[in-house]
Symmetry: C3
Subunit: 367 residues, 3 copies
């Protein structure tokens, strides 16, 4: 039984056989809704569903959270200090300090000053503070950054241009164009820092977040209502890829919600620039057809080795085995089709099945 | 034999077996062209091809026409008055009174005044007249409206803004931007009216109509030469969906000619907003692959129940059984694939096959 | 063994059996890299790999080069004068004299004057010179022109507008908008000339060329780094198709790198305008899935007879048989699927398999 907390297709299949996790497979309906709910509540409160128990049962090697630039990472410390053998690492997500028109941006800058111990008064100190926080995240085990941007536009500003925008942001007079330019510049800066400190860069662009204003006002951020928009990569990523795309110290993993960019833009770019890799079909992490289309549209141009395996982004911990199981089945189906059409041989398929499930993701994130 | 009056693929298949309608199945060629033409002419003039006879033979439950805002619907009256048991209902299509730059717009406003009995002198009386006509259409059996717009942009104007544009339109000084803003506002108004009077709203956007100017000058409107354009929904429909998309009295059925919007925009929007449903693959109503792609790209995100069955938009009456036959086969093929892949079970497939052929379209249009 | 010099998927398959060209089929790896390289070098220097020998072994009927407007075509003359029975014809590619912001444009204009014997001083003499060169190319066997444009925008300028831009280009004061307008006008002019002299027009739009500045600076033009961009055809081609699309003397073959335009724009346009044909899946000339998608997305709307067969654009001479072999297999697979689904019968499939491999391309290019 695959439960998707984002309200998408609920899948029922008899094929799931999770060790020790026998699930009562029956269709959800009016008659059994209450008993299924009760069973789930009971299970979630049982010792066998405690997070660390599940972590071991699921045979997880590493989990990465995403955390704001100023996060103290105190719970990561607690995990480390607890002596537990599991690995839970942070990722550096600076969206809140980068989106200069965000409602709480000034408060975020105060938090950034406090967390870094650097008085953030201008663009230069702001960059220093971000570099400082990246160092701290690396100390705490981080291997990657992540940025959720509306557009993947990349364009470097001069320090004086960037500082002028930063000052307008502090004064509350920054415009939408200022924000767009500032974010485009910060993607360049984050890439530069990645070349220096080795954090893998991730970009998740092209979502119209909080599309349903009513839902957002009632329940706040990240409650659904994120709708994809058409996203352009060829022109937008050019400056970043020109400056850093041939740099052997740099890796940038690009995601999309816009399938039309797979074969037209993303696969050619990833096939060309050594530093660029394609993230999996983000919006389709539970979708058989969606994941199949990702492979069909990218493999002939970018190959398998320019993709990064299945880096599941679930917020539902118990969904992890089912999601990975599904993703692996889809990839193996794709490989089987390639074997049956004599495009690859069975030995290559065996090797690739391991790479797509496990090998590539470790290489991509230097794990 | 599937004849497509729009000049697309002509399909010949031995599988069609229409009750009492034995068709001579052979390939069209130079040799038989004249005799096929003669046979068709003869058949069309025979009593068994009279519209009401066909209506019964085709086992049709209801046909809906689309009619201008000021249409007297006299033929609908005649049908009702004739005591015939068939059901032919109108749909309210206000394009001619909404497109303020249309060549005959002022004449359309005069007709609107006359039909509604309301002197249309300003925006307020214009809205009153449209509400009046919607009431009349409802009396005559209408269940839906339809709007063909170039862009699905929705944005409410203040009454004074709308009236200023309306006055410029009357004076012949309205601009292209005025028309765009006016249409965006009228989509909002039509949605509001639908919440009040219960007519299901339909939007058919994204066609460059009368692309071939020569053809248009010689033969007039709707003679082919309608070419799709890329169409954006996420940003354009946001204002309408934010204001009315959670309203239980409201249903909006959105169509597209732009397949790239299926999985990126339309399915996520229909999956999220209770009021929004997806119309079928409009431009591909005779296309096996086109209809298959519609299901493949929308089902995992929007599900089946956010689609509305096959609301064939043919202008060729005799094509109705063949088109529905084809659509049902494609849907059943899709369901069969889902069963064979253990995504749904056979009982669910049986239930869905009925829903896709008959149930959903009746629910969607409150029939 | 399919070698793709553009760095895309390298395919290894045991199915290739090229007459007299026994190739050692084994996977490329560290162990055999040197010996495979040595074998290839040896073969390329052997008499059996001389171009004319291969031409005969490959059973080629005609090869077309693309040549700048001012090219002397001296090597074409040499081939003709040599008395060899093979057919190598030029195509007229005026990009260098049309792109008025090109680095060497003024030098290209000097070359154009010299080649045509017409002093190119203004727009009028420029057009005369181009017409003159087209005549020369036709004398030398050319059947087609080709234009690589960023956008397929077409819009006719008045002679005075065109001349004003031409003068600004000569003075070095032309802007990006000037160039865009000039190219849009030259597509119209080239179409007009094609109606007059019968050369088939080809348009290859939508590539961001030399995306990787570093690569370009080091190695120059056409060394990879060409990345597709989203391309609009419905609005952009309208003026050209309205003026010339119904002209029986005119044929325009349109290519794309943007798959999203297949079913939305290109197939409807080619289905509607008699003069327009679809070129094959240009960027996917070695891609099984890419070629399959081309057929799936275009056939139901444009049919087979509005496509032009497989006009391979390779720059790797020895790849010709493998590429055509692959393209033919993909097309035959597609036909087989249509037969198995009773959409076409086996006789039609046999006829189409010949047309797609040989017949259509000869008709398209008047060979």
């Amino acid at each position: 039984m695959i439960l998707d907390l984002n309200g998408r297709l609920i899948q029922l299949t008899e094929q799931i056989d999770l060790d020790n996790l026998t699930v009562n497979v029956e269709k959800l309906n009016k008659g059994n809704a209450q008993s299924v709910y009760d069973l789930m509540s009971e299970k979630l409160q049982s010792p066998e569903f405690l997070p660390r128990t599940l972590y071991n049962k699921f045979n997880i090697e590493v989990i990465s959270t995403t955390d704001g630039a100023s996060d103290s990472l105190e719970y990561h410390k607690q995990i480390v200090d607890s002596g537990w053998s599991g690995k839970v690492i942070p990722s550096f997500r600076p969206d809140a300090v980068v989106s200069i028109l965000g409602e709480n941006w000034k408060y975020e800058i105060i938090k950034l000053s406090s967390a870094s111990g650097i008085d953030v008064l201008d663009y230069k100190s702001y960059i220093n503070a971000i570099e400082n926080r990246r160092s701290f995240f690396i100390e705490m085990g981080a291997v990657a950054t992540d940025q959720g941007v509306f557009s993947p536009n990349t364009h470097e500003l001069s320090e004086s241009e960037a500082d002028a925008i930063f000052q307008r942001a502090l004064n509350g007079t920054a415009t939408a164009n200022d924000e767009r330019a500032f974010i485009g510049n910060m993607l360049m800066e984050m890439a530069r820092m990645s070349c220096e400190d080795g954090l893998v860069m991730q970009i998740h662009p092209g979502v119209f977040r909080n599309h349903n204003a009513l839902l957002f006002q009632k329940f706040g951020l990240d409650k659904g209502g994120d709708i994809p928009v058409s996203t352009e990569y060829t022109k937008n990523l050019r400056e970043l890829l020109n400056k850093y795309g041939n740099n052997p110290n740099f890796k940038v993993i690009v995601f999309t919600l816009d399938e039309t960019s797979y074969s037209r833009e993303l696969a050619p770019l990833a096939g060309h620039y050594p530093a660029m890799k394609l993230g999996p079909a983000w919006w389709f992490n539970d979708s058989i057809q969606g994941m199949r289309r990702f492979r069909e549209m990218t493999t002939e141009t970018a190959g398998f080795y320019n993709t990064v395996g299945f880096n599941d982004d679930t917020r539902a911990f118990v969904s992890i085995p089912a999601r990975h199981d599904l993703a692996r089945r889809v990839d193996c189906n794709f490989l089987a089709q390639q074997v049956s059409e004599h495009i690859i041989d069975i030995d290559t398929a065996h090797k690739l099945s391991y790479e797509l499930a496990n090998g590539l993701v470790k290489k991509a994130y230097n794990l």
